[in-house]
C-alpha cells in the first residue's frame, strides 16, 4: 500500500467522530500494519509536564515496559525530542536510544530486535502535546519519504490531541461556569445563611470532586449559631491541618496549601491535597473556604486544579456572600428595631399607667388625710380610756402606713439617679419617628428630619430624654389633630458661654393660646380632656435635671416649636461655634 493511500485512511479516521483514544489507536494500528512498524506509541504530556505513554498499536510489545517510566522534558530521547521539537531517527547501528528518563537495561533485549527507530514531536507553533515513537524490526532505516510521511502523521495526531485539549478546557470552563451559576443562584436566594453556606460547600465539593469542603466565617462578621459550614468530613482525618491552613490563609490573605508551609508541620497522610482560600470583600476578611481531597478518590483530582478552582470560587462568592449575610444582618437589625418599638410602646403604656396610678393615689390621699386628721382631733378632744386610745393609735398607725404607700406611688417619676450615657440625639429621634410612623394615627403627619451632623454625642439619660421627646411629639400630634407637618431639627448653640445641643420640634398645629402659655409646664395643667397635666411638667423637670432647658417659640395660628437644649461637655465645639 502506498503512502498516499495510507494517509487517506488516516485522514478519514482523524476526522471521524470517534473517541480520541480510538482515533489515535486506530492511526497507530494503521501505520504499524501498513508501513509496517512493530511499535507505534504516543507519549502525551501530563499536567505535571511529564511525558507518559498513553496510546499504542495493538501489537506493541514495548508499551507495558515504557509505560512504567515518565520522563521530564529534556530527559532521554523522548524528552529531548519534546524539548527541541525536532524529529530524531536512529538505526540499530546507533547507540540504542534511551527511551525514557532512564537507561533501562531490561529494554536492551527488545531494543536490539528493532533496526530503525524514529521519534517525532507532536506540536504546533506554540504547544507541545506529546511525542510519536515508531520502531521497526524489518526496516534497516527510514527513507526520506517515510520520514516526511511520519511527520504528516505526527501533525494529524498533534491536531487530534490539540482539539481534545480544547474540548477538555472548554468542558472545564463550562463546568466552572455551571458551578458559578449554581453558586450565584444560591447566593441570590432567600434562604437562611446556614442553608446558603451548606449549599455552597456542597456545590464546590461536587464541582471539584473534593471529599470535603468547609467554610468558616469570621466571628466579627456575623454572629451565627455556628461559624463553620461543611460538606463531607474533615475533622476525623485532617482537622488540625485544616484549622492551621485557615489561619495561614487569613494571615497571608491568599490561597495556601500545606506545600506552601513547612512540610514537616503537616501530617497530611490521608488528604493528598488541601487548599484554603480567604474570602474577602472590599478588604474585609469574611472567612475562609477550604477544599480537600482524599487519596481514595480517583479521576481528575483537586491537586490538578485545586488552587485555581478555589481561588476563582472564593473571588466569586465573597461579595455575594457578604451581601447575603449583610441582608441577614439587616433583618436582625429590623427585628431589633421592632423589639425596641415594642419596648417603647410598653414604656409608653407604663408611663400612662404611672400617671393614672398617680391620679388615683392623689384622689385617695385627700380622704385619708381627712380620716387621719380627724381621728387625731377626736382622740385629743374625747376623754378616751386606755383601750379606746389603743384603737385610735391603731387607726392612726394604719393611716400613716397607707400614706407612706401613696407617697411612694405619687413619687412615680422617682428621683432615681440618672444614668448618663453618651448618646447621639439623632438616633433617639430616628427610633421615635420609626415608632410613631408605624402607628396609624400618624399616617397623615409628615415628619421632616434635618440633622446637623456635627452635633457631638450628648451626655444624658437616654430613657428620660426619650420620654421628653415622646411627650413633645405627642403634643405636636395632638395640636395638629393628626394632620400636618412636624419638623425635627438638631443643632448646636452657645448659651451664656456654654455649648448646648438642641433638638427642635415644630408643628403646624396653630400654636398655643398666649393666655395659657405660661402655665404649660405647670403640673396638672392640661387642655386635653383626658390629660393628666403631668407630661410637660415632668419633661421640663427631666431637662432641668440634665442642666438644660426647654424653650418655646410660639406663632399663633401657625404652630409651636419646642426646643430642648441639653448641655454638651464644656470643652467640645466651643471654639468651633464662636
Amino acid at each position: 500500500m502506498n503512502l498516499i493511500d495510507i494517509f487517506g485512511k488516516i485522514i478519514v479516521i482523524s476526522h471521524s467522530n470517534l473517541e480520541i483514544a480510538s482515533r489515535i489507536n486506530a492511526i497507530l494500528n494503521i501505520i504499524a500494519q501498513d508501513m509496517p512498524f512493530d511499535e507505534a506509541i504516543v507519549y502525551t504530556l501530563d499536567t505535571d509536564k511529564r511525558l507518559t505513554c498513553r496510546y499504542k498499536n495493538d501489537k506493541s510489545a514495548l508499551f507495558h515496559l515504557l509505560n512504567e517510566y515518565r520522563s521530564h522534558i529534556g530527559e532521554g530521547v523522548v524528552g529531548s525530542v519534546a524539548q527541541k521539537r525536532m524529529p530524531q531517527s536512529f538505526t540499530n547501528k546507533d547507540v540504542p536510544p534511551r527511551l525514557g528518563c532512564l537507561f533501562y537495561p531490561d529494554l536492551d533485549g527488545f531494543i536490539e530486535k528493532y533496526k530503525a527507530f524514529s521519534f517525532l514531536p507532536l506540536s504546533d507553533d506554540s504547544y507541545l502535546y506529546g511525542v510519536l515513537f515508531v520502531g521497526s524490526s524489518g526496516k534497516e532505516r527510514l527513507n526520506d519519504s517515510e520520514k516526511v510521511f511520519l511527520s504528516m502523521v505526527a501533525r494529524e495526531i498533534g491536531g487530534i490531541l490539540r482539539s481534545n485539549q480544547l474540548i477538555i478546557s472548554s468542558k472545564k470552563r463550562i463546568s466552572e461556569l455551571a458551578t458559578l451559576s449554581e453558586l450565584g443562584k444560591i447566593l441570590s436566594s432567600n434562604a437562611i445563611p446556614r442553608d446558603i453556606l451548606n449549599n455552597i460547600a456542597f456545590i464546590i465539593a461536587k464541582a471539584s470532586n473534593a471529599s470535603f469542603v468547609t467554610i468558616r466565617l469570621a466571628h466579627s462578621f456575623l454572629k451565627l449559631d455556628s461559624q463553620r459550614f461543611t460538606y463531607g468530613d474533615f475533622e476525623s482525618t485532617s482537622g488540625e491541618d485544616v484549622i492551621r491552613l485557615e489561619e495561614e490563609s487569613k494571615k497571608r490573605g491568599k490561597t495556601v496549601s500545606p506545600r506552601d508551609l513547612a512540610p514537616e508541620g503537616y501530617k497530611n497522610t490521608v488528604v493528598t491535597s488541601l487548599y484554603s482560600a480567604p474570602l474577602t470583600s472590599k478588604g474585609r476578611f469574611l472567612g475562609t473556604v477550604t477544599i480537600g481531597e482524599s487519596q481514595t478518590v480517583s479521576g481528575p483530582t483537586v491537586e490538578e486544579n485545586g488552587r485555581y478552582l478555589i481561588e476563582t470560587i472564593a473571588n466569586y462568592i465573597s461579595s455575594g456572600l457578604e451581601n447575603t449575610l449583610l441582608t441577614t444582618k439587616l433583618k436582625d437589625v429590623v427585628n431589633e428595631l421592632n423589639n425596641a418599638q415594642k419596648r417603647l410602646l410598653e414604656q409608653e403604656t407604663f408611663r400612662n399607667l404611672g400617671e393614672m396610678t398617680a391620679n388615683i393615689a392623689h384622689e385617695i390621699k385627700n380622704p385619708l388625710v381627712i380620716i387621719g386628721g380627724f381621728t387625731k382631733r377626736l382622740a385629743k378632744k374625747a376623754r378616751l380610756d386606755h383601750t379606746e386610745n389603743k384603737y385610735v393609735e391603731i387607726i392612726l398607725k394604719e393611716v400613716a402606713r397607707l400614706e407612706a404607700i401613696l407617697d411612694e406611688i405619687l413619687n412615680y417619676v422617682k428621683e432615681s439617679p440618672m444614668v448618663f450615657k453618651e448618646c447621639k440625639v439623632s438616633d433617639f429621634i430616628d427610633e421615635l419617628v420609626y415608632l410613631f410612623t408605624s402607628d396609624q394615627a400618624w399616617d397623615k403627619i409628615e415628619i421632616t428630619r434635618e440633622y446637623d451632623n456635627d452635633v457631638p454625642s450628648v451626655p444624658c439619660d437616654d430613657q428620660q430624654i426619650k420620654q421628653v421627646l415622646i411627650n413633645i411629639l405627642m403634643n405636636a400630634h395632638d395640636a395638629t389633630h393628626g394632620t400636618g407637618t412636624i419638623t425635627i431639627q438638631t443643632g448646636r448653640k452657645i448659651i451664656n458661654d456654654r455649648p448646648f445641643a438642641s433638638i427642635s420640634i415644630s408643628d403646624t398645629g396653630g400654636g398655643i393660646d398666649p393666655a395659657i402659655i405660661d402655665n404649660i409646664f405647670n403640673p396638672f395643667f392640661t387642655t386635653k380632656e383626658k390629660g393628666t397635666g403631668l407630661g410637660l411638667a415632668i419633661s421640663n423637670k427631666i431637662v432641668l435635671n440634665h442642666g438644660g432647658h426647654i424653650q418655646i417659640n410660639n406663632i399663633v395660628d401657625k404652630g409651636a416649636t419646642f426646643i430642648v437644649y441639653l448641655p454638651l461637655k464644656n470643652n467640645i465645639i466651643r471654639e468651633e461655634l464662636i
Binding site: 392623689h362 385627700n366 387621719g372 387625731k376 407617697d407 405619687l410 402655665n519 396638672f524
Partner: protein, 120 residues
C-alpha cells in the same frame, strides 16, 4: 398680741375644715377659699400673713394662683400643700415659699408656717 391671719385654699371641704381646726388651735386666725379665683378675691379684700395653697384644683390650679398672688403681693408668703411629693424640690422655682406634702400628721405644716413667719 395680733393673731397671724392665714388663708387655706383647697377644693376639698374637709381638708379645709381639718386644717382650719388644727391651725386655729395653734392660735392663728384662719380663713378658707375653695379655689384659686376665690382665694384671689379674698386676698384682694383682706390682709393675710400667709397662704396655704393646694396645687391640684379645678379651674385655676395652685401654680397659676401662686403666680397671681405673687403678682398682687410678692411679699405675701405662700406654702404649696399637695398630695404629690413629686414637685417638692421645685417649689422655689415656682416662687413659693414652702412646700408641704399633705398628711394626716399636720406637724410639718405647722412647723413650716412657724419657720416662714419667724415664730419661735
Amino acid at each position: 398680741m395680733k393673731k397671724e391671719k392665714l388663708l387655706i385654699v383647697d377644693d376639698e371641704e374637709n381638708i379645709r375644715f381639718l386644717f382650719k381646726e388644727e391651725l386655729e388651735e395653734e392660735g392663728y386666725e384662719v380663713d378658707v377659699a375653695s379655689n384659686g379665683l376665690d382665694a384671689l378675691e379674698k386676698i384682694k379684700n383682706a390682709v393675710f400673713d400667709l397662704v396655704i395653697l393646694d396645687i391640684k384644683m379645678p379651674g385655676m390650679n395652685g401654680i397659676q394662683a401662686l403666680n397671681e398672688i405673687k403678682n398682687m403681693n410678692k411679699d405675701l408668703p405662700v406654702i404649696l400643700c399637695s398630695a404629690y411629693g413629686e414637685f417638692k424640690q421645685d417649689f422655689s422655682s415656682w416662687a413659693s415659699d414652702g412646700y408641704v406634702v399633705k398628711s394626716a400628721d399636720t406637724k410639718e405644716l405647722k412647723q413650716t408656717i412657724k419657720d416662714i413667719l419667724g415664730i419661735e
